[in-house]
């Protein structure tokens, strides 16, 4: 037998056929036994398995085929697992070297080459066989396993059948009993009736005899006619002498079709049992996708799985609202990544396994959740000072999320992000106050978190702890105030405000043309500057959050301010609180005013920044945090500068 046996056409055809068949099944079971064998050796082992599975255990067929194919490949791989003959093989005959009349050297080298080639082939074969031998034990086990499964399956199937038959038998017996009972009852009744009739007749006869025996002729005549009548009546009565019931029992038709079906299905590969779907693994979801895993805890054959999923609606849908459609994905593996989903949404998923026989029951339904969309940081409306920052953001999701995680990263002096990162987790609302180091720059970002995991990072916000930074609160402004584009300059114009600018809410100033800055909700010192023109009539200071919006800054006890009034002859200054001001003259009109708020000392100081001149200090004893406040008493403009390092003259 030459090595060319492998190239025999028939063999090749068969080889291809079985290889294809193998591929069409779930290959996972086969891989461990097959992978280690060289491809050329797959046939016998593979055939054993293949045929077993494909043909559903019709062993006779297998044997035939086996022998057939073995005959095809005999000589090279005789598979006889129980003998030592398995490793015996006949080497391919080497074609005799053509001995020519050439120089002896050529002959030698040619021969050498030939023998080398053959030797190599032999080596290959040896190693392949060794491989194969090494896997026989696994093959043993697999065969045992398969046998065990099938035996168990068989037992169970037959048990089911027997049980069904037994049940039928019991049912039939009970029915038969019932029938017997009713027949006997009927007959008994009939018997009683007959008895009664007999007794009545007997009585009648006795009465007649008595009449007959009566010696009194007159009495006799009187009684005889009714008696005769009675006897006649009785005689007229037909006796019903038929049986009320049949003696035979019914034999109803027995429907054993289901038992037949069960018998038929014994030889069939069972449909798989329900798979078990895993709960959502942490960090396996993204904003629009979910990675779902499941497993099959029985050794059923599965051709493919089908994963079903649909979104879970927030509230119970009303009767007229259609339930969302179910999507379906067909996969061969025990995992699947479902995409094109909505973010921050809950999905219901279940999976079925299908094989040639049918579809398994559905697995339990699992609830998975996609990760939320990242939040959106308010790039303007945050507050920071030398040792803290209060940042705010929008959720970025229409539905609620569980919490937020804030990430803070230091920015080194050359503008790169350092490795040091701090996280604040479980933030319940859309704002966070965090401690920072003075004189540093940071990049802050936020993630929204739900049970599916954290969202992507939001766009970063750069925060610097050089000085105090706050924004102006547009909603607190008087309707006559206009804001510059950078929102740090306010102006009070000569024109009437447009109707559309009129806000009908309570949060803005109604008389004093003023605006509040963001609440300075961190203790310590805060400094900011206000820039005005020489003739700007302004009010600049601080106010409590609840300061009366219908009142003027400084006119009540909830606000303090420096006020500049321009008279025809001179500049007048007031430092107002509760409507009262000390009497002060200032000879140089400040155009850059520094405001220093010291919560710890309870002071509010004003400076002429250009001259580094201290103007006045309020001693306040603040009961709560305050807002910076800015007002214009007459048309003019005022700019706010903040995030300034505390100057030395303060």
């Amino acid at each position: 037998m030459t090595c060319d046996a492998f190239k025999d056409e028939k063999t090749v055809g068969k080889h291809t056929y079985y290889r294809d068949m193998r591929r069409s099944l779930d290959t996972s079971k086969f891989n461990k036994t097959l992978a280690k064998n060289g491809d050329s050796l797959n046939q016998p082992v593979a055939l054993l398995m293949d045929l077993f599975e494909i043909r559903g255990g019709q062993l006779d067929v297998i044997e035939e085929e086996q022998e057939f194919s073995l005959m095809e490949h005999s000589g090279a791989q005789r598979v006889s697992v129980e003998t030592n003959e398995s490793l015996r093989f006949e080497a391919c005959d080497s074609p005799s070297p053509a001995v020519t009349e050439d120089s002896p050297d050529d002959v030698f080298s040619d021969t050498e080459n030939e023998s080398d080639v053959i030797r190599n082939k032999l080596q290959e074969k040896v190693s392949e066989m060794e491989n194969f031998a090494g896997h026989l034990e696994e093959i043993f086990l697999t065969v045992e396993e398969n046998f065990g499964r099938r035996e168990q399956h068989l037992e169970q199937h037959y048990n089911d059948v027997l049980q069904t038959l037994s049940q039928r038998c019991d049912d039939r017996a009970a029915a038969l009993q019932e029938e017997k009972k009713s027949k006997l009852e009927a007959l008994y009744k009939q018997l009683l009736d007959c008895g009664r009739a007999l007794d009545a007749s007997k009585e009648l006869i006795e009465s007649a005899q008595e009449v007959h025996r009566c010696h009194d002729n007159r009495l006799f005549l009187k009684m005889v006619m009714p008696m005769i009548k009675r006897i006649e009546d009785v005689a007229k009565d037909d006796m019903d002498l038929t049986l009320s019931t049949t003696l035979e029992f019914q034999t109803p038709r027995c429907d054993l079709s289901d038992v037949k079906t069960m018998m038929d299905s014994i030889s069939v590969v069972p449909a798989p049992s329900a798979p078990v779907i895993n709960p959502q693994a942490p960090n396996s979801a993204s904003q629009t996708s979910l990675r779902v895993c499941w497993s099959l805890f029985s050794d059923d054959t599965v051709e493919y799985y089908e994963l079903f999923y649909r979104p879970v609606l927030e509230d119970c849908p009303p009767a007229d609202c259609p339930t969302p459609p179910v999507n379906k994905v067909k996969v061969k593996e025990t995992h699947c990544t479902v995409s094109q989903l909505l973010p921050n949404a809950q999905y219901e998923l279940w999976v079925t396994a299908t094989n040639i026989t049918g579809i398994s029951p559905a697995s339990e339904k699992a609830l998975y959740m996609t990760v939320p969309c990242p939040p959106v940081l308010d790039q303007r409306g945050y507050m920071s000072c030398t040792d803290a920052a209060l940042i705010r953001w929008e959720s970025g999701n229409t539905n609620p999320v569980d919490s937020y995680t804030v990430e803070i990263q230091e920015l080194t002096s050359d503008g790169t992000q350092s490795d040091f990162k701090e996280s604040v987790v479980a933030v319940p609302s859309c704002q966070c106050l965090m401690q920072l180091q003075p004189g540093q720059s940071y990049v802050v970002s936020v993630r929204a978190v739900n049970i599916g995991g954290p969202s992507e990072k939001s766009e970063g916000l750069q925060v610097s702890t050089t000085g105090t930074y706050f924004s102006l609160l547009e909603e607190s402004s008087h309707q006559c105030l206009c804001f510059s584009e950078d929102m740090f300059t306010i102006s009070y114009g000569y024109e009437d405000p447009p109707i559309s600018a009129m806000a009908f809410d309570d949060s803005g100033f109604t008389r004093c043309v003023a605006v509040l800055g963001d609440l300075l909700s961190v203790r310590g010192r805060h400094y900011w500057e206000v820039q005005v023109e020489d003739d700007t009539e302004y009010r600049v200071g601080v106010a409590y959050e609840d300061t009366d919006r219908n009142s003027y800054l400084g006119a009540n006890n909830t606000s303090w301010c420096m006020r500049h009034i321009l008279t025809p002859t001179r500049h007048k200054f007031e430092f107002l609180h509760n409507g009262w001001s000390p009497d002060l003259r200032i000879t140089v009109n400040p155009v850059q005013i520094g405001v220093l708020l010291d919560y710890d000392r309870g002071t509010l100081s004003f400076y002429n920044v250009d001259l580094k001149q201290h103007l006045h200090t309020f001693h306040c004893d603040f009961r709560s945090f305050v807002h910076p406040c800015f007002g214009l008493d007459n048309p003019g403009e005022l700019s706010v500068h903040n995030a300034i390092q505390m100057p030395t003259f303060t």
Binding site: R570, H571, P582, D583, L584, R585, I586, T587, V588, N608, L611, K612, Q613, H614, L615, H616, T648, F649
Partner: protein
């Protein structure tokens, strides 16, 4: 120079010294407060010029300046208000002229011109003496005063641009050429030529001041009888400073009079004001 008294005060020492003055040609006393910091370091100096009828004692016993001076590490020097014991005729006749009323000028008229040289004493002799005998930083000095002393502080600062780091005053006589006090004193010390008076008038000096920027703090009691008697005339000074852009913060304190109770109430603010410049 000899020490007349020494009392521990506010962690430092309030001392009084006496020396023979070359400008005034008599024995003069002056008070010096040494803060705790002076034991180990050189300190800046604040000169306090008292008002009419005062000696070196009034300020150190009534003004309550020592605690703030100790806190900010300032040496405070409080000289007398005029030469003493010169036996000049008429020197004790008036409380607002002569003894206790030197007006911080260098007199040019007889019989005053020999002794009554308070301007030179304050701006020249005394600083040299102080710097030579105490742990001072000669580059850092400021001046303050009350009433006549306020006038003195203002003119010293205005006439010596850059010499004083800061200046402040309590109820100063701002425009002496326009008020009875000033007119009386200047007539006596400087003669009847009003042009010579202007060299010692803060309002006039401010109008022509050119030099490093000053930062002036002035406190004035609203119920000060001398204010209403038009002796002090702060509005004139303010008007000129407004025009000449000399930074002044002038505070009119309601209910306060001309006394040391008024000084006591606001001396901390003034010391803090000076400390800002002296300790910078």
């Amino acid at each position: 120079m000899k020490e007349v008294s020494s009392n521990k005060c506010a962690g430092g020492f309030q001392k009084v010294f006496e020396h023979e003055s070359s400008e005034l040609k008599c024995k003069m006393k002056f008070a010096v407060f040494l803060p705790p910091k002076a034991e180990t370091e050189k300190c800046p100096v604040l000169y306090w010029l008292s008002g009419l009828t005062c000696t070196e004692q009034n300020f150190i016993t009534k003004a309550g300046s020592q605690l703030a001076a100790a806190e900010h590490g300032l040496i405070v020097v409080a000289p007398d208000t005029s030469p003493r014991g010169c036996n000049i005729e008429g020197e004790d006749e008036n409380w607002d002229f002569g003894t206790g009323a030197g007006f911080y000028v260098d007199a040019t008229e007889e019989p005053w011109k020999n002794n009554y040289r308070m301007y030179s004493y304050i701006t020249d002799e005394l600083p040299k003496l102080i710097n030579g005998n105490f742990p001072t930083d000669p580059e850092r000095m400021s001046v303050s005063g009350h009433s006549m002393g306020g006038h003195g502080a203002l003119i010293c600062a205005l006439k010596n641009p850059g010499k004083y780091k800061s200046v402040s005053a309590f109820a100063p006589i701002c425009n002496p050429v326009q008020c009875p006090w000033g007119q009386k004193a200047f007539t006596g010390y400087l003669g009847s030529d009003r042009s010579s008076w202007e060299a010692y008038d803060a309002t006039t000096l401010a109008a022509s001041y050119s030099g490093p920027r000053l930062d002036v703090l002035i406190d004035q009691g609203k119920d000060d009888q001398f204010l209403s008697a038009s002796q002090l005339l702060p509005d004139n000074l303010i008007a000129v400073c407004s025009e000449k852009k000399i930074p002044v913060v002038f505070r009119l304190q309601p209910g306060y009079d001309h006394s040391y109770f008024f000084i006591y109430s606001f001396i901390n603010d003034h010391i803090k004001h000076h400390a800002k410049f002296l300790n910078a």
